[in-house]
Symmetry: C2
DNA sequence: ACACTCTTGTGAACGATGTTTACTTCGTGA
DNA sequence: TCACGAAGTAAACATCGTTCACAAGAGTGT
């Protein structure tokens, strides 16, 4: 019934079990990618595996549980991609020119933030089905943001990837932010609570700018993936880069933007 | 087979037909709202209407056609709401103070733009199921943005509500926009084509700002409706208003924002 | 008034789906 | 060795969209 999350601990049975569990998710993902959300059916998965549908209930509590597990995996894969892009920039930029010779401090962090954002879009655009599962319309009956859900912690990890870079950037290279008076008074306690609970240790206006930037990126990428931008643009990548650079300028990264453009 | 779009033209049979067609959509919507996307099934609709499922095929080509028709209706309802809000502001503000006495020209248009945007969010938040259908994950098998689809022209109408206000605002009260050099070169021809085909007669940077603003609004509202913002905010309305005002300032409407805040 | 046509609706059926239940088979740990 | 528990199966139930042949009815032309 309950999915044993044991990694590969001993008892060869559990290893077999984990392998089968993984195979189910692999087949499910292949079906999802190749034939769309509608093809993500237990029976189809079972058929592809040469097994009957009820057998899958030994590994997942049902269809929605499997979807939730997939979502968690996708979240983590996306985070991995973003962190990989971040790490790559770190070595590249860092090795080319010693940090002391740079005109501005925090250039590496800025590049990492850009790279992570680009990686977010790249993964999303190249994995539209997976993206839809985690960022699209909530699947009826699947509370992705429920506690006790693996997808929930994965989602929080995702949030922290951006947040950590933002915090670093602010620490090493603060930028202009709106005045507190420009923020809706009712927003402040919410930001305050998020700062504490989410571990985003920043001044409130910076927290707002962070959320605002994330919403801009999310909006643009979501529109692109869902085809809600085709009414205006045939290829959304240039628009994304333009928007990213505009955000960069907003964060006082004009030099980094000029370097990348 | 084909849905007769005749309003209520003569032949009492077609009136009856239109009424039944409307009842189907009404029942479908009630099911959608009360029980979610999954409950939007032909059989459930038929059951509620005291009729068998195949009867519905006399009115709609199938499940996806019904969904597309609903989407078109929702689009139009949303547009109506936005235009109503726009019209209300026009009379209010216009009657209070004669336009010549205002400090800045175009204040009415600015208020209308704000009101329409707020109306967009209000409708979206109070109609999450309907919103999901038109702005969420594309339903597999339903090309909402296919030509020949009623939803397509409704979608274009929606785009024009914002665009028209933007054009008016720019005409009467131009604002600061990014330099052409800040736009990705590959973006320019796309903007140019959209300007012509979409009838958005504006300088290219203004077209970009328009799309950027729309993406920001879309992103924030989508995140709110889909619950992708709950990780940080318990009530997204203050954040929305803050973002809206920030956009207003970006469009040189600091006075209007101050007035509304 | 009659017959004819076209519309509307029905019932049965087909192939899918998720899920539950009882039953079998078989590996593994004591 | 042997019993326990895990893994898998077959059958069944309730759904779903969709198609088909057919019956009843309204509307119409003569």
């Amino acid at each position: 019934m309950t999915v044993t999350t044991s990694p590969d601990a001993g008892t060869r049975r559990s290893r077999q079990r984990a392998a089968t569990s993984q195979e189910i998710k692999d087949v499910a993902r292949r079906l999802l990618v190749e034939q769309g959300t509608a093809a993500l059916s237990l029976r189809a998965i079972a058929r592809k595996m040469g097994v009957t549908a009820p057998a899958l209930y030994r590994y997942f509590d049902g269809h929605e549980a499997l979807v939730a597990a997939l979502a968690a995996d996708f979240y983590n894969e996306l985070c991995d991609q973003m962190e990989a892009a971040e790490a790559a920039v770190g070595s590249e930029v860092g090795s080319e020119v010693p940090d002391e010779q740079r005109a501005e401090p925090g250039t590496v962090v800025a590049h990492q933030l850009m790279a992570a954002t680009i990686a977010f879009r790249t993964w999303s655009v190249t994995h539209p089905a997976e993206f839809s599962l985690i960022f699209g319309t909530p699947i009826p009956g699947v509370d992705l943001y429920d506690e006790t859900s693996a997808a929930c912690v994965a989602g929080q990890r995702f949030g922290l990837v951006f947040a950590a870079l933002f915090i670093q950037l602010w620490a090493v290279r603060p930028f202009a932010v709106p005045d507190l008076s420009e923020l809706d008074p009712r927003l402040l306690p919410q930001l305050e609570e998020y700062r504490e609970r989410g571990g985003v240790d920043l001044p409130l206006p910076v927290v707002y700018v962070f959320l605002s930037c994330w919403a801009r990126i999310y909006g643009l990428v979501t529109m692109e993936v869902f085809g809600h931008l085709t009414f205006a643009l045939s290829d959304a990548e240039p628009a994304f880069m333009t928007e990213l650079f505009q955000i960069g300028r907003l964060l006082g990264l004009a030099d980094v933007v000029a370097e990348l453009a």
